[in-house]
């Protein structure tokens, strides 16, 4: 219940934050929403000597389309995703996902950045990043760099963000006409970690065939999983039941679940398939202009 002692800094710029991380090299942790980190510290499972609070850094929370991308700042609160009309209209995958995350109180402080780079396979946004083909912008002692979502998730609680780097923005290719996105998970109780979840992005061409597809899976592997074969199986095809079912089957094959309190292996694997089908159908319906 009580964290161990630590020192605290609240820098006012990214550069200051990065140099603090570098100064304390490995002994410091970034504090954004704090709703993954502080609980770990209260249980004394994480004992950083220094916390670098990035909440005072201006211009780090935004949701906007700019040029060819949708850009979301790292300290954007998860509830801001839910409130955004832009996202509801053009990227409803975020509205779906935000609604599923934890509870409204946690979402008032929990950040997009935190949910993206904490590395818990139970987090909901990573699968969305994979489905959308997102890019993560990080800044470190060596300056800024871009990491694509498909290279981002390495292992449970391990991402491509290196020591002393900070995630500052996620970038998603701007929504195209006839694009549909969706997310859903099933859980034992609302706000709990997923038994399985699926994120889907599809784009239809003028002939009504699937031009591109991205599928991400939550909760069925050591990290969020990019169901590559399932997505590829859809490209060029008509969005019919046969192809949806096939994609579901391939998603099952991509899943690598562990049996635990949230379900045995074969159940989670089967649910990866069920959710892929359901979410794919939802995304297709949206691509066609429906809900």
């Amino acid at each position: 219940m009580i964290p161990p002692q630590f020192d605290y800094y609240a820098p006012r710029s990214i550069d200051e934050a990065v140099s603090l991380l570098q100064r304390f090299d490995g002994e410091a942790k970034v504090l954004a929403g704090g709703h993954s980190l502080i609980p770990l510290m209260k249980l004394r499972l994480a004992q950083p000597q220094v916390l670098v609070d990035i909440n005072r850094i201006p211009n780090l929370a935004y949701i906007r389309e700019e040029g060819t991308h949708l850009k979301i700042g790292a300290t954007t609160r998860t509830n801001d995703l839910l409130e955004s009309d832009l996202l509801r209209r053009s990227y409803p995958i975020f509205t779906d996902a935000a609604q599923e995350i934890a509870d409204p109180l946690v979402r008032n402080l929990g950040t997009v950045g935190g949910n993206v780079c904490h590395g818990d396979p139970g987090n909901d946004l990573p699968a969305c990043m994979l489905a959308l083909g997102a890019e993560m912008m990080v800044v470190g002692p060596k300056g800024p760099r871009t990491i694509s979502a498909s290279d981002f998730y390495k292992d449970t609680f391990v991402t491509a963000v290196e020591a002393n780097e900070i995630l500052i923005e996620v970038r998603i290719p701007k929504s195209r006409p006839q694009q549909g996105t969706a997310y859903q998970k099933i859980e034992k109780r609302i706000g709990d970690f997923a038994m399985a979840g699926a994120a889907v992005c599809v784009v239809l061409n003028s002939a009504g065939r699937i031009e591109s597809a991205g599928i991400g899976l939550t909760g069925v592997g050591p990290t969020a999983i990019r169901a590559v074969n399932a997505a590829n199986s859809l490209v060029g095809e008509l969005p019919d039941e046969v192809h949806v079912a096939n994609a579901g089957r391939l998603a099952e094959e991509a899943a690598q679940p562990t049996g635990d309190l949230r379900g045995p292996i074969e159940y989670k694997r089967a649910m990866a398939g069920v959710l892929t089908r359901r979410v794919l159908n939802r995304a297709l319906s949206r691509a066609k202009g429906g809900a």
Partner: protein, 184 residues
């Protein structure tokens, strides 16, 4: 109204000898206070032990139960997972701040009228969440109410009367607002 900030000495119950302290200036229920606290001091402990505002409760240690819900700059948050130092320069409201001049808020009245509490332990947090909900959605459906309070666990009531109380409070507030607006 610029009020002089009240300096508070952190209760002995929170400070370990030898830790570095951080200066915090925060407005609590409209009153500015200043204090020197250990960075690890949880906001809920700061409120309860340093400021003596024991209406905010602790029901778990994993950020699940919501008994500790307070408003931070108007938004309901779990004060067990916020560091007191993070509230520097900000505005915090607790259950003690719901009543004004001894007059209960519509939410408080509705909870009594509808039997929305039994042991009372989850109630402050529940009312803080409800107050924030009604501020942005004065006429929530039952589904919307239940979703808004899903981060506040109750073991006694089964939620039925809590939902009733929140919807009743919303109606009362609208009636008052309409009346105050002098609508015919």
């Amino acid at each position: 109204m610029a009020a002089a900030a009240r300096p508070v000495s952190p209760a002995a119950s929170l400070t370990s000898a030898g830790g570095t302290l951080v200066h915090v200036r925060v407005t609590v229920n409209g009153q500015p206070v200043v204090a020197e606290v250990e960075p690890r001091t949880l906001l809920v402990h700061f409120l309860r032990e340093v400021l003596g505002l024991t209406g905010t409760h602790i029901g778990c240690d994993t950020t699940n139960c919501g008994a500790c819900t307070v408003h931070l700059d108007g938004k309901p948050v779990k004060s067990c997972t916020v560091l007191a130092v993070q509230t520097d320069g900000r505005d915090v409201r607790t259950v003690e701040g719901l009543e004004v001049g001894g007059k209960l808020s519509p939410i408080q009245e509705a909870f009594v009228e509808c039997h929305g509490l039994q042991c009372g332990f989850c109630t402050p947090g529940m009312m803080m969440t409800a107050t924030a909900l009604l501020a942005r959605n004065p006429n929530p459906t039952e589904d919307e109410v239940r979703d808004a309070i899903r981060g506040n666990l109750c073991r006694c009531t089964g939620y039925v009367n809590i939902v009733k109380a929140i919807q009743l409070a919303g109606q009362k507030m609208q009636t008052t607002a309409a009346g105050a607006g002098g609508k015919p």
